[in-house]
Amino acid sequence: PAYAQSGPVKIGVATSLTGPYADLGEEVKRAVTFAAKEAAAKGTLKGRTVQYEFADAETDPEVARRASEKLVLGGYKLLVGLISSAQGLAVGGQLEKWDALYLATINKSNKLTADACNTRMFRANHSDAMDMAVIGPWLKSRPEKDWVIMAADYAWGRDSAEEFTKAAKVAGKNLKASYFAPIGTKDYAPHIQQIKDQKAQGMWVAISGRDAINFGVQADQFGLLKTIFPVSQSFAVPLTIKGMGPIAEGIWGIINYSDGLDTPANKAFVAAWKKEFNRDPANFEAETYVGMQLLFAAVAKAGSDEPEKVAKALEGLSLDDTIFGKVTMRAQDHQLIMPNYMGKVGKVGAELKPVIEMAVDGSIATPAPDPSCKMK
Amino acid sequence: MNAHAPVLAFEGVDAFYGAAHILHGVSFQVRAGESVAILGRNGVGKTTIVNTLLGIARHGAGAIRFHDRAIERPRPYQAARAGIGVALQGRKLFPNLSVRENLMLGAASNRAGAWTLDGVFDLFPVLRERAEAPGTALSGGQQQMLAIGRALMANPDLLVLDEPSEGLAPVIVDELAAVFGALNAKGTALLLIEQNLSLVERVSRRFAVLAKGRVVEEGSLDGIDRTSLQRHIAI
C-alpha cells in the first residue's frame, strides 16, 4: 500500500515474569523471542524488524491491565503473553479504548471467544471447549464403566466437570460422584479417601499446576493411581509431569501439542527449538509460537502494524503449514481452528512425555462459535 | 568478707534517658553488711540510680564499681550474675508465670546461698498458699512480697530495694524490717530507696538525699530525728 510503514513492528509481551505463573511466563518469553528471530531470518515481515518489550503482569488481572496499558502507551500496541484467562478478559475490555490488539495464546476460558469476544481479541490456542470436544469420541472407546470426577473448585474445574458429566452421559457411563477442592488445597487425603470408597474404575481429573502435582503425588501414595484409570484435562502436561516424576506415567489426558507431532513443520520447529534452547518445546510454547506466526503473517498481509488493520487481516487468515498443519482464524469468534489430541504420558527415550494416541481434526475439535459472541 | 570494702560505689555518675540528663555526678558507697538509704522527693532520680546500675538508663560520665571492679557497659543479666538482686519499683512481675515460677526465675543468676524457695515461702507464707496462682492474681501487697522474695532468691551480695514497703500492710513492713536487719547482719549490703521513713529508720544506718539528680546531703541516721530527716528530704 501507499503508506506502508517502516520501522520495527512493536510487540508488547505482558506476561508473568514473577509469581506462581512465572514458569509459564518463561515459556512465553522463549516462544516470542524464537518466533521473532525466525520471522526476521525468513523475512516474513518484508524487511521490517521486530521489537518486543516485556512487562510483568504477575498473576493479577489488575496488574496485567496496568502492564498492558503501559506497553500500549509506549507504542507496543500488539499484545500477547497474558497467562490467566482473567488477565486476558481484563485487558480485552480495554483494547478498543487503547486502540490495541490482543492475541491470546495461553488463556483457555471459553469466555474470551464467547460473550466477552471483541474485534480486537483473538485466540491462537485451544480453548476449554475444544478440549472437551475431544472427550466425547474418546470416552466411547473406553471400557471403564464407573467414573468419578476430581476437579479444582473454580470456574475452569467446575466447567470441565460439567462437560465431562455431559460427555459421560452421552457415552453411557456411570458417574458416581464429583469432588471439588479449592485452589491451593494442601491435603487431598480426605478427597482421595472418598474416591477410594467409591470404587470407580475411571477418574476425570481437572486440576492444574502445582495443585495437580500435589494431588498426583498424594493419590499415588495412597495407592489410588494403581486402582483407578486417571484421565485429565491439563493434569498431565510437561510442567506437571516434571514435577510428578515417574508416577505420571500412564496418565491419560488431552494433549494440545506434542513435540512428536508428525508434520514436517513440527520436525523442523523441534529441531530448531532444541538447538536454540537445548530442550523440547512445551505445549504453550508451541501454541504461542503459532500465534506469533499468525500475527506476523497478519502484519505482512495488512502491510501495517496498526492494530485495527492487523485485526482485519487476522480475521479468516489461514496458514497452511504450521506445526499443527493447516490452521484458520475463524472470523465469527476469533478462535483459531486447529486439531486437538488425546494421549497418555509415556516414555520417549528416557524422558516422560505426553504421547499422542488419537488426533481429532480441527473441524471436529473446534466447536461451532458460541452464539453469545457478538463482535462489535 | 571484708566489712569495710565498698560493695557498690557510684563515683560522679551521670545518667540519661535518651537525651534527657537525669543524674548529675552522683556519688555514694554501700559496704558489705551495711544498709544505705537513698531518700528524696518524687522524680529526683532515685529509680534512675537503679536503672543505671542495671544498664537500663544510659550511663554517661563517672564510674560505677561493684566489688571494686568498674562496670563499664552494664547489662542487666551481668549485674544479676555478679550478685546484684533487685526488687524494682512497680514490682514488674510476670503475669504469665506462677508465683513459684516467678520466684524460681529469681534464681536465674545461678548463685548458691541461703535463700531457697522454702526460705521465701517461710518468710511470706501467703505466697506458699498461692504458689500456683499466676503472679499477678495476687493483691498489690502480695505482689510486693513476691517481688522482694524474687530478689532474695538471687542470694545477692547487694540487695537493691526500690520502695519495697509500697502497698504493704504495716505489720508486714515490721516483718520486712526484721528480715532486712537479719540480711545485713549476714553481710548482705542493702541499697534501700524508700519513702516510708519508719522503715528506713529501722533498717539503715546511713542515708543520702537526692534532689534533681544530685546528691545534696549525706550522713548517718544515728541521732537524727524524723522531722529533721523530713526537712532534709524536702529541700
Binding site: P20, P190, Q221, L239 | R75, N96, A108
Partner: protein, 282 residues
C-alpha cells in the same frame, strides 16, 4: 470414617509442625514473623538440594542445621536491633525478608515445581482394616507429636523454658533476674527457624516445593497460632488438631465451604475468646 479422622490427625499434626516455629518466636520475641513461610521454604529447598547428595535424612539434617544458623543470624542481625520498636516495623521487615527470599529462591532454583521423594524407609502403605494407608503420613503424625512433646518438655520442664516464658513477657525484667536474654532469644529463634525448616522438608514429599510455597503456608500458620492463643504452643497444638478434623469434616460434609472453614472457626473462637484458646494467660 475412622480413616478420615486419621486423615484429619495427619493434617492437624502437619499444621502444628508447620506453625510451631511461628508460635515459639512470637512467644519469645512478640514478633509477628511474616518470614515464617520463607524459613519453611528455605528449609525445603536446602533439604531438596542436600537430599540429592545425601538422601532424605541428610536433607532433613541440612535443613535443620542450615535454618538454625539462619535463625540465629536473623535474631542477631534483625530482631535484636529492632527490639523495642513498633511491632509493625518488625512485621514489615520480616515481610521484606520474605520477598527477598522468594527472589533468592527464584534466582537460584528457578520457578519450577519439584517433588521430593519420601525416604525408602517410610514409603509404601500399611494395611489397615478395610483399606491401606501411606506409612509416610503416619510418620508425619509421629513428627508432629515429637515436636509438640519435645517443645512441651523443653518449655515446661527445663529452666530454659521458664526463662523463655519470662522473657516473652518482658525481656528487660527477665534480664534483671540474670537471664541472658540475648543468647536465649538467639537460641529460641534458631530452634523456631530449624523447626520451620524441618517442617518444610517433612512436608515436601506430600506438598511439592516451589517459590510460592512460602505464601501458601503463611496464612495457615497464622490461623493456627491465633486460634491457639498467640505464643501458646499448647494452644497451637490444640488448634492445629481441631483444624485438622474440621478440614476433613469440611471436605466430606461441607465441600462448598472448605476454604473458609478455618477462617470461620477462627472468627468463632476469637469472638468467644478474644485471646484465643489458651490466650488468657498472655
Amino acid at each position: 470414617m475412622l480413616i478420615q479422622i486419621l486423615n484429619g490427625l495427619v493434617y492437624g499434626t502437619f499444621l502444628f509442625a508447620m506453625a510451631s516455629g511461628l508460635a515459639l518466636m512470637f512467644g519469645l520475641r512478640r514478633i509477628v514473623n511474616f518470614a515464617h513461610g520463607a524459613l519453611y521454604m528455605l528449609g525445603a529447598y536446602f533439604g531438596y538440594t542436600a537430599a540429592k547428595l545425601a538422601g532424605f535424612w541428610g536433607g532433613l539434617l541440612v535443613a535443620a542445621l542450615g535454618l538454625a544458623v539462619l535463625g540465629v543470624a536473623l535474631d542477631i542481625l534483625v530482631f535484636r536491633p529492632l527490639r523495642g520498636r513498633d511491632p509493625l516495623t518488625t512485621l514489615l521487615v520480616t515481610f521484606g525478608l520474605a520477598l527477598i527470599s522468594e527472589d533468592f529462591i527464584q534466582t537460584f532454583w528457578g520457578n519450577d515445581t519439584h517433588s521430593f521423594a519420601e525416604p525408602a524407609l517410610l514409603s509404601g502403605v500399611v494395611q489397615l482394616p478395610g483399606t491401606t494407608f501411606p506409612i509416610y503420613r503416619l510418620a508425619i503424625v509421629a513428627f508432629g507429636i515429637l515436636v509438640a512433646g519435645g517443645l512441651a518438655f523443653w518449655l515446661t520442664r527445663s529452666k530454659v523454658g521458664l526463662y523463655v516464658r519470662a522473657a516473652s513477657h518482658d525481656p528487660v525484667i527477665a534480664a534483671v533476674q540474670g537471664v541472658d536474654t540475648d543468647r536465649l532469644s538467639a537460641l529460641v529463634v534458631g530452634v523456631g527457624a530449624a523447626l520451620a525448616g524441618m517442617a518444610g522438608v517433612v512436608a515436601a514429599p506430600i506438598l511439592s516445593i516451589s517459590p510460592a510455597m512460602a505464601a501458601d503456608i503463611l496464612v495457615d500458620s497464622f490461623i493456627v497460632v491465633v486460634i491457639g492463643g498467640l505464643g501458646s504452643l499448647g494452644g497451637a497444638f490444640a488448634a492445629a488438631l481441631i483444624l485438622g478434623q474440621i478440614n476433613v469434616l469440611g471436605v466430606v460434609f461441607l465441600p462448598e465451604l472448605t476454604a473458609l472453614l478455618p477462617f470461620l472457626l477462627m472468627m468463632a473462637v476469637l469472638i468467644w475468646r478474644p485471646t484465643g484458646l489458651a490466650g488468657s494467660r498472655v
